[in-house]
Structures are given as structure tokens and as C-alpha cells.
């Protein structure tokens, strides 16, 4: 305490203290001199020992902690002066640091928003969800009946809510229909209490608002929906919102931060689950009690209960459920399935996100690349610093001679580095705010399959500058500053003691090895960028088996209320025919799932003549319901048999058309037409076109060519097509294929308008060309290709700066030598070759080290590549050639300078 006060006092009374110190030292000196004279020494001799007070004063100052603060401040000011005095160096270094830091910060911000944020609710750590693993299927959802049984576990759960999220696009506010899709959260009345969120305006609904089926037309809005649709009206409670035939009263608005439990897919409003039948009018009666498996439970543990205890309780209930399911006489298949099933209690404090798993690998790749870029930046700035501290040799030598300790000089140089890093960090922060917006834009586009229809699926996340982003940037800048600063500072603070040829040679070696490291790391980034961009190109230009330029896909959802759903069959008849009549349209037809919708559908098992082909996922068969002439519209060739026609209706024998892949797998060379095939799925609880096909037999009437069907990466999945009239209950969505005479793009609006004319209540989710559809599915690939391209470019630029700096520096160091060479008759071209050759040797060493490293690194991304090997020689050659070309360009200017050295001046300057 005493120490702190005294320290502060002396910090503020700096001048006075210094005077006192001087006076005391002078007094000491005088007495010492008097003493020595008294003992008979000469005055001159007596004074010698105390020639300088300065080191004494310095060490006196150092005795107190405040001196550290003070000298740090001095170091900071000195550092700032040095940086200002060399604006070119400072700008180049700070900018390159800014790029490195911004890359990391912006990727961190997206990573943080998607993965690391806890739900903005009270005590999110007590929230859990239940995850079923049954065979190969994993699901968060279960039936309402099961949910009720888990909810009854009130010895471990404080309470449990059930959620079912649905897309709707028939909401009316003030008599105006909202064309956009809205995400409706149908939740039990206790949802807000369970999740721990309160309304910002008005109130949320509670358990008492969710008692009688159909009796609670109330709605709670999200902040975003409130702003967008109700214009942020603060007196919104009491206003109305219409969905299907029901009018709902607004109860309140949630806080801005709260958008439900789905991260990246915010809920627009919440309605009590007792209104399910009114919201999802297309479902059969009593949807809540019925067998629907779409309820996601969200449970809150009692505060005194551990996850393990709750898990045990949950397992018991799950076993009971299975026992009832199996009944008295279970089949061996059911028993096998029961054995493979379990229920896990999964923490939900970070919410759910379907995109999390999908994006974790790309984000990991980007984090590593950004880290590499930052390392390159560090090597680069370290190199610039070495060249620069070498220029300050004299200053540092003087300071050492004047009694400045090595530690002090080390600190001074480190402070300068940190200052530079802080500057880079501040700039980087500005870049990052912009870059994370752009990055989200790249992640955000792209469709996803939802409940049978396609929806443009933006990853809706909010990224803004906040304390987390600031903290990350600050920490990163600090680490960066230490990383690039420590080696040059350490060298400078001691290296200059051992001057001479040895020191110079070592300095050169250090700079060169940093450069080689930089080249090697840059090469890895460049090779990665080349591989990813080739992957994107391959995926985008691959042969789809379709005509991509003359085909439009119009996606509609038929699950938008009973009025539309009841007409599904009629719409399947009507819409393609009407669109086919549009001028410029050659033909048109429809299917339920369409193609290139990116969904991960489970597929069904198939068997021929009782010989099943099950097990692995890729042996599952995908199915779709189509109108006649579907293949004609897609230009898929019929290889055998016939197309569907008007005869294939509900009363006719059940028929299928299979694709080539299936035909090959099941029938080999023999002709499948006329053969019978069984489809069935015991394990799958998902709704697939045609539903659970257990034990149903079909006659194959045709074989059609393969195409890229669902996702751009799966080439020949086995497919079956069925006539839509034979399964009207599963017409949940409709993808209309429109084949145009000319380019498809300009027809988009016409198609959209025509669908609206046919039925204004039919929501058109998306109309796009096959090309665009494909491109939308390649969001991840494009994200990685774009960013890794950017990182590669930045790395090349940095290598350019680094090489320029290094070569300039070494040319400056060797001016004399070069002067002598020229004086004794070296040709200037020879000097040019000498300097460039040295540069190329450095780059060559970097490449020699980088290639094996890249070969190892690319193995980790093998799964991300398509149509290109991890050791693709073209990518490697291009990367190496680009780096070498850039290196020669960077070295050219200083090399020319070296070649034009005037021997007279060079020798005179010695």
C-alpha cells in the first residue's frame, strides 16, 4: 500500500523528485571528494569515480514500480515517433497486419455467431434437448405423445416444452398478404417459461394460453418480424395477424436478441401449439395427438439435478416406449432396430442449428487458412523489422553504451512491435466489420429443402462489432505483435554486441529463412486456393445429364393450408399444362421433389423377387412422383420401355420407371422392363414420396438415363419415378420443370406471373434456371474457393512486399561489394542475374519445403475436393509458377538498382 501511494506520488511529482535526486547525489559527491582530498588524493583523481550520475539515477528510478510505468510510456512515445518517422514502413506493415488480422477476426465473428453463442435466455446451461438415434437416423423430433411422457419426468425436469417449426407463406396483416415465407414456431404454452425468455413489449403466452384445441388465437412476434411487418409500432399488442382462416391477436414482441432456439434460422412469430390444426390445415384431423413425429422437445433440468441423473431417467422412459412398440410378438427386424436405438440428452444452451454441422468443416478450413495468412504476415513484418532495426544499429549501440540495459532495449523494440500490431489491429477491426458482412453474404445464399419444398435458405445471423469481437482482435493483435516482434527485438538487443562479418551473415540468414518460411506457407495457401477453385469449376461445369441453359425450375409448396393441399392433384394437372402454353415454352411437367434441391433424403430399401438390397446408405433408393413427359422436359432419354401417360391413374396397376443406375444394380444386363420390384422401408420415419412403401410391389415400365439428381456431388443415385396420380396423398410440394425454346433466364418472371394467374394462393418459392439452382447449391464450395483465393492473393502480395524489402536491404548492404565487382569489370547484366538468381534460390527453397507440406495438408481436405486429386500437379505447378513470377517481379526493381550502382560512389561511401 505504502509502496503504491509512494509510487503514484513520485509518478506525479516527477520534476521535483528528479531535482531532489540531483541534489542528494551532488551532496554525496561533494562529501566524497572532500573525504578523498582529506586523505591526500588529488582533486582530479577524487572526482573520477563519479564521472556520471546517470546510471546511478537510472537505477534509483528503477527501484520503484512506477518507473516501469513511466518508462513504458516513454517507450510508447518513442516507438510512436519512430513509426511516424518511417511512414512507408509503418503503412506497409500496418496494412499487411490489418489484412491478416481482419481475415481472422471476420471468420471468428461468423464462427462465434454460429457456434459459440449461448442462447440469450436466463440460465441456458439447464436447457437440453432429446436426440433419438435409431439405426442410421438421428432426429431431434418425436411424437407429441412421447413428449408428454418425458415431460411427466418432473423429478428431473423443471418443465419441458415442445416445438414444431413450419414455413408458411399465407400470412395477412391489414389485409395485405406477405409474399415471403415466414417461419412459424408452434410451441407449447410453457415454451417461453422453459426457454427462459420474456417479452420486450406486451407479454408472451403462458400455459393458460394453450389449453383447448383451436381456442387460443394469439401470437408473439419476434423483434425482426415486428419491425418488418408492423413497422416497429410500440402499441402492437392487440393488433391482428391473419393466417389461413384464423385471425390472431398480437400479445407481445420478444427482445431483439431472442429469435428462438434455432441459430441461423430465426423464428418470425410464435403461436400456441393448440392452434396447430388451424395453422397446418392440410394435416389430417387431430394433428397434435396423431402420429406426427415433428415435435422437438426442449427441457429445462431442475437446478439440483445433474445431466447424468436426467439421462438415466430419460433412458428408462425410452425403454418403456420401445417395449410397448415391440408388443408381445416382435419381429426379428424390430428387435434388431430396438437394439440399435438410444435416446440422448443433448445440451441446448447454444441452441440448435442445422447449418452448424454442414458449415463446421468449411469454417475449420477457413480458420486454418486465415491462421496461415496471419503467420505469413508475421514472417513478413518480422523480416521488414529486421531490415529496419539493422538500420538502427548505431542508435541501439549508443544506447547500450550509455548504460541502457539489454532488457530495456528489448522492451523498447517489443513496445514498438506491439504498437505496430495495435495499429494493424485497429485497421483490421475496421476491415473485419465490412468483411464479416460480406462473408455472411457468401454463406447466406443457397436453398435448402424444408418439409417437402425448397426454400431459399439464408443463414440469418447477426454479426456486429461487440466486446467479443473487440476482445478477440485485441488478443490476436497482442499475440501477433509478440510473434513478429520477438525475434528481431531479441537479435537487435544482443546481436549488435558481436558486430562484424559473423553478425551480418547471421542477420542475412535469419531474414532469408523467414522469407523461405513465408514462401512455403504462401505456396500452401495458393495450392489450396487452386484446388478449391478447380473443385468449384468442376462441380459447376460437370455434365448434369440435363440441359442447363434451357430449363427452368419453379418451386411451389402445396402444404400451405387445406385449400391448396386439397387441390394438389388438380394443380399437378393444371400448372404444367398452362405453363406449356406460354410463348417461348417448349414443354412443361412437374414432380414432387424436383431436382437439385440439395436435400439429404433418406431413401428407401428395395428388393427384387424377395432378394433385398439394404444396409449402406448409398444402396437406398430415392423416389419421386412425376407427371407424364417429365423426362422429355428434362431431356433425359428413355433407354427402354415407355413413359407414364394418362392411363397410369389411381385405379391402374402400380408402375415405376427406374433409372439406369438402379437397373444396372438390380438387373445387370437383363431388361428390367416388365419385371417386378419391391420397395419398403422399416427404419425410416421420414416422409418420402410414396411414404413407407413396406411390402409394396411395382411393375417396371421404363428405364431412364441417370442425371445429377439431388446434390451436385452424387452422380448416380438409384432413382424410381412413379406417376403422381397413383399417390395423391404425398403431393406435398411441386417443382415445375419448364423447358424453354431460347435462354431460360428471361422467362423467369413470365413463369412466376403465370403460376400466380392459375392460383393466387399458391406460393411460388423460387423460380430459377438449372444453372442458377446448381450454383446456389455450391454455396459452401464457392465460399471456400472465394476466401481461399483471397487468402492466396493476399499471401502472394505479402510475399511480393517481403521479397522486395529483403532484396532491397541486401542490395543496400552489399553496395560496396557490387561496386567493387563492377569496378573490376563485372557486366551489369551479370549483377542483375546475380541478384535475381539469389531471389529465385530463396523462392526455390520455399517451394521445395512448401510442396511436401502442402501434400500433407491437402490430405485433410480430400473430402472437399471434386474431380481433382489432393496432389493435383497442375495446381501445384501453377502455384509454384505464380510465386516465382511474382518473386522475379518483386526483385526486379532492387536488382536494377544494384546493377546501376556507380562504382565510384559505392567505393567512396566506404
Amino acid at each position: 500500500m505504502h509502496n503504491i501511494l509512494a509510487g503514484l506520488r513520485s509518478l506525479f511529482r516527477r520534476g521535483e523528485e528528479s531535482r531532489e535526486m540531483d541534489e542528494e547525489l551532488r551532496d554525496y559527491l561533494n562529501r566524497s571528494v572532500e573525504d578523498k582530498l582529506r586523505r591526500g588524493r588529488s582533486a582530479r583523481e577524487a572526482r573520477v569515480e563519479l564521472a556520471s550520475f546517470e546510471p546511478v539515477k537510472e537505477s534509483m528510478r528503477d527501484a520503484g514500480w512506477e518507473s516501469t510505468v513511466e518508462s513504458l510510456w516513454r517507450d510508447l512515445r518513442f516507438g510512436a515517433r519512430i513509426l511516424i518517422r518511417r511512414p512507408a514502413f509503418t503503412v506497409v506493415a500496418a496494412l499487411s497486419l490489418a489484412v491478416g488480422i481482419a481475415a481472422n477476426t471476420s471468420i471468428f465473428s461468423v464462427f462465434d455467431a454460429l457456434m459459440l453463442r449461448r442462447l440469450p435466455v436466463s440460465h441456458p446451461e439447464a436447457l437440453y434437448t432429446l436426440q433419438r438415434h435409431e439405426g442410421q437416423m438421428t432426429s431431434d423430433a418425436m411424437s407429441y405423445r412421447w413428449y408428454e411422457r418425458f415431460r411427466a419426468l418432473n423429478n428431473v425436469f423443471a418443465d419441458a416444452a415442445a416445438i414444431t417449426n413450419e414455413d408458411r407463406s399465407n400470412v395477412e396483416v391489414n389485409g395485405v398478404r406477405d409474399e415471403r415465407q415466414v417461419q412459424v414456431g408452434l410451441v407449447t404454452g410453457n415454451y417461453f417459461a422453459v426457454i427462459g425468455a420474456e417479452a420486450a413489449i406486451g407479454r408472451t403466452f403462458t400455459a393458460s394460453d394453450d389449453v383447448t384445441a383451436g381456442g387460443h388465437p394469439v401470437v408473439v412476434l419476434s423483434d425482426q418480424y415486428w419491425r418488418k411487418v408492423f413497422g416497429g409500432d410500440p402499441s402492437v399488442p392487440g393488433r391482428r395477424l391473419r393466417l389461413n382462416q384464423t385471425t390472431y391477436t398480437v400479445l407481445g414482441v420478444m427482445p431483439r436478441a431472442f429469435s428462438g432456439e434455432w441459430v441461423g434460422r430465426p423464428t418470425d412469430f410464435w403461436i400456441p401449439i393448440s392452434m396447430l390444426a388451424q395453422v397446418l390445415t392440410e394435416l389430417p384431423p387431430d394433428p397434435v395427438r396423431g402420429g406426427r413425429m415433428n415435435y422437438v422437445p426442449l427441457v429445462r433440468l431442475r437446478p439440483d439435478v445433474s445431466g447424468r441423473q436426467a439421462m438415466a431417467a430419460v433412458a428408462v422412459v425410452y425403454q418403456d416406449i420401445w417395449k410397448e412398440r415391440l408388443g408381445a410378438n416382435p419381429s426379428p427386424e424390430m428387435i434388431r432396430q430396438a437394439r440399435q436405438s438410444r435416446l440422448d440428452l443433448v445440451p441446448a444452451e447454444y441452441g440448435f442449428s442445422p447449418q452448424r454441422a454442414a458449415l463446421s468443416k468449411p469454417i475449420a478450413i477457413l480458420i486454418v487458412s486465415a491462421g496461415l495468412l496471419l503467420l505469413i504476415t508475421c514472417a513478413n513484418v518480422a523480416n521488414l523489422l529486421i531490415a529496419r532495426t539493422a538500420g538502427r544499429e548505431r542508435e541501439i549501440a549508443v544506447r547500450l553504451a550509455l548504460g541502457g540495459g539489454q532488457a530495456r532495449i528489448l522492451r523498447q523494440l517489443l513496445v514498438e512491435s506491439l504498437l505496430l500490431a495495435a495499429l494493424g489491429g485497429a485497421l483490421g477491426m475496421l476491415f473485419a466489420v465490412w468483411a464479416s458482412g460480406a462473408l455472411l453474404g457468401l454463406v447466406a445464399t443457397g436453398p435448402a429443402q424444408m418439409g417437402g419444398g425448397i426454400t431459399p435458405d439464408p443463414l440469418r445471423l447477426e454479426v456486429h462489432m461487440d466486446s467479443r469481437m473487440l476482445g478477440f482482435t485485441f488478443a490476436l493483435s497482442l499475440v501477433t505483435g509478440m510473434t513478429f516482434g520477438i525475434i528481431p527485438a531479441f537479435r537487435a538487443s544482443k546481436g549488435f554486441n558481436q558486430r562484424g562479418a559473423d553478425g551480418l551473415a547471421r542477420r542475412g540468414f535469419l531474414g532469408k529463412s523467414l522469407m523461405v518460411t513465408q514462401v512455403a506457407l504462401s505456396l500452401i495457401l495458393l495450392i489450396g486456393a487452386a484446388l478449391f477453385s478447380r473443385t468449384l469449376h468442376n462441380l459447376q461445369t460437370q455434365d448434369l445429364g440435363l440441359d442447363r441453359r434451357h430449363t427452368l425450375l419453379a418451386w411451389t409448396s402445396l402444404r400451405q393450408g387445406a385449400r391448396i393441399f386439397d387441390r394438389a392433384s388438380a394443380l399437378f394437372d393444371q400448372v404444367p399444362d398452362r405453363l406449356a402454353l406460354l410463348p417461348g415454352v417448349q414443354s412443361s411437367s412437374a414432380s414432387v421433389y424436383g431436382l437439385l434441391n440439395g436435400s439429404e433424403s433418406a431413401g428407401v430399401d428395395a428388393a427384387v423377387a424377395g432378394q433385398p438390397l439394404t444396409a449402406s446408405d448409398d444402396a437406398k433408393v430415392l423416389s419421386d412422383l412425376v407427371t407424364p413427359r417429365y423426362f422429355e422436359s428434362l431431356e433425359l432419354h428413355m433407354l427402354a420401355g415407355r413413359d407414364f401417360d394418362a392411363r397410369d391413374d389411381a385405379h391402374a396397376p402400380r408402375v415405376v420407371i427406374v433409372n439406369e443406375a438402379l437397373a444396372r444394380r438390380f438387373f445387370g444386363r437383363s431388361n428390367p422392363v416388365g419385371q417386378r420390384i419391391d420397395f419398403g422401408s422399416v427404419a425410416s420415419n421420414r416422409s418420402i414420396a410414396g411414404g413407407p412403401l413396406t411390402g409394396r410391389t411395382f411393375e417396371i415400365v421404363g428405364v431412364v438415363a441417370d442425371s445429377i439428381h439431388v446434390r451436385p456431388r452424387d452422380r448416380s443415385r438409384m432413382m424410381i419415378y412413379r406417376p403422381y396420380r397413383q399417390d395423391p396423398a404425398h403431393l406435398v410440394s411441386m417443382c415445375v420443370v419448364v423447358r424453354t425454346v431460347g435462354e431460360a433466364g428471361p422467362m423467369i418472371d413470365k413463369v412466376r406471373q403465370e403460376v400466380r394467374r392459375i392460383d393466387s394462393g399458391l406460393p411460388v418459392l423460387l423460380v430459377d434456371t438449372v444453372d442458377q439452382q446448381l450454383s446456389d447449391l455450391l454455396v459452401q464450395e464457392r465460399l471456400i474457393a472465394t476466401l481461399s483465393g483471397f487468402f492466396g492473393g493476399a499471401a502472394v502480395l505479402l510475399a511480393c512486399v517481403g521479397l522486395y524489402g529483403l532484396v532491397s536491404y541486401s542490395v543496400a548492404q552489399r553496395t560496396n561489394e557490387i561496386g567493387v565487382r563492377i569496378a573490376v569489370g563485372a557486366v551489369r547484366a551479370h549483377i542483375l542475374r546475380l541478384v535475381l538468381g539469389e531471389t529465385l534460390r530463396l523462392v526455390g527453397a520455399g517451394i521445395a519445403i512448401g510442396v511436401p507440406l502442402a501434400l500433407v495438408a491437402t490430405r485433410a481436405i480430400a473430402a472437399q475436393l471434386f474431380g481433382v486429386g489432393t496432389s493435383d500437379p497442375v495446381s501445384m505447378l501453377c502455384a509454384a509458377a505464380l510465386l516465382s513470377a511474382v518473386a522475379i517481379t518483386a526483385a526486379w526493381i532492387p536488382a536494377r538498382r544494384a546493377a546501376s550502382v556507380d562504382p565510384v560512389t559505392a567505393l567512396r561511401s566506404e
Partner: protein
Amino acid sequence: MGLVQGTLDMLILKTLALQPLHSYGIGTRIQQISTGVFEVGPGSLFPALRRLERSGLIRAKWKTSDHNRRARYYGLTDSGREKLESETREWERQTAAIARILREGSHA
């Protein structure tokens, strides 16, 4: 002869236990008492004084003294006195122990 780190602090405290002294006085006194074994230069004396002052063991005052000369006189504070006593005890305990060890060693 060099001093063990911390020993100088103790010697200064001991010197000041008798009477307040100025810096030069402290240096010469230590030299005298140790009959010239310890020579304390300004380079170590001043930082030590500063350190002691900062931790509140000694206190300095400007005084006008002999021959009308202003000098900074250092004196012990109460905590300085306590520190000296405890340090002295500790020192004696340690030196006795070391002496014993050295004696034992020589018999072996």
C-alpha cells in the same frame, strides 16, 4: 567484496538504528564498521536506500546540518526497526546453521 543480495539492506538498517545519517555517511559507516571489508559504492547504495524508503522501512528528511549544509538524512521507521530485529534473528539462525554444517563437513 560483494554483498549477498538483501544483506546490504540489513546493514543499512543496522547503521541507521544508532542514529539518522545521510547517504555518504551510511556508506562510510558501513565501510568503517566492517573495517574496510565491505565497500559500498553509490551504484548500489542509492537504489538500496530508495528501495527501503519505498517499502516504508526508512524515512528521509532534508536537514541543515554541520557547516550549514543541506543533506538528506535517513532514519529508521518503526516497521524498519521491527524488520531489522527479525532480519537479525533470521541471519543469526542461518549463519549458526551454516557454521554447524561447515564444522561437521570438516570432521568428515
